[in-house]
Symmetry: C2
Subunit: 173 residues, 2 copies
């Protein structure tokens, strides 16, 4: 299987898993080393290697994510036993065009002035590892892990947990 | 207000917030520094300073939590805009009596042999900080933070975010 096709399949799988979970929990590491979570409204767009969230550029979570960029985004839908964990690296992105692309009126709940909200920015989480809950096996299944995939450069053998290459040159643009 | 009364009120508040959220997400730090989450079935008991989860003593999450004991437990109920973050310290507890106290038949989904499941243990998360989402204010509100409370030794003034003393000698026993 072509690497790019394989990657796209894994992106589609993750998109499918999270598409109906509109609020995710973002976990960051505080300055004292403690882990903190808060809900984040997720734009309903296909996953292409990164998760995006609207944020105030001056929010404490942004400061935490800039101090220690490794974060986690979890998606939970207990009704369908659907749970997803995305480990990644956060950065603040101020890109008007990207904001317009991701914006929907739903976000006015948090940002009443829309795209003209002062200090509005995007928190981008470049995914490095993604796992989802396999209810039948009662375990997390790795959807992809960048390290192994980039080392081997090809799709994993059947029977092994699915892993997905995230080509960092292409992912999350 | 008596300190113990105040603490009990905050414990009750947290118990109320999480009582209908039966599956929480536990976030740990992996050996490579990445943050990982997975769902954990929560025993339906009143919060008394610690959260408890059944686990296999040999599970990867236990290893991660023992390598780096600071973890996060998040509770999400999007329907009611109810989101809670508990920052704490994890430890593995093998205490048959405590397991009997927390056990319910619901856990057989994950541990079919019940309390006789090999390697069954408890992961205890001693809460150090708890926050919940205030939808009206679109922000996380600190339910308690051990540092400030133990420094001041008394309830915070009205108008400030509520904080709760966790007396470590009493909490989570």
């Amino acid at each position: 299987m072509e690497q790019s096709t394989y990657r796209q399949q894994q992106f589609s799988k993750l998109s499918e898993l999270i598409k109906d979970i509109r609020v995710a929990m973002l976990t960051t590491v505080d300055e004292d080393g403690s882990l903190r979570s808060r809900p984040m409204a997720a734009p309903q767009v296909a996953f292409e290697g990164a998760l995006w969230f609207f944020t105030g550029a001056d929010a404490p979570k942004v400061e935490e994510a800039q101090q220690r960029r490794q974060v986690n985004v979890s998606f939970a839908d207990p009704e369908h036993q659907n749970y997803v964990s995305v480990s990644g690296t956060a950065s603040l992105v101020c890109d008007r065009q990207k904001m317009e692309e991701l914006w929907s009126s739903w976000f006015r709940t948090w940002f009443p002035r829309g795209l003209d909200e002062p200090h509005l920015a995007l928190l981008k989480v470049e995914a490095e590892k993604a796992e989802y809950w396999d209810a039948a096996a009662s375990t997390m299944v790795q959807l992809y892990g960048v390290v192994k995939a980039t080392l081997t450069g090809k799709a994993p053998p059947a029977g092994e947990h699915a892993k997905l290459l995230v080509d960092e040159r292409q992912a999350g643009t």
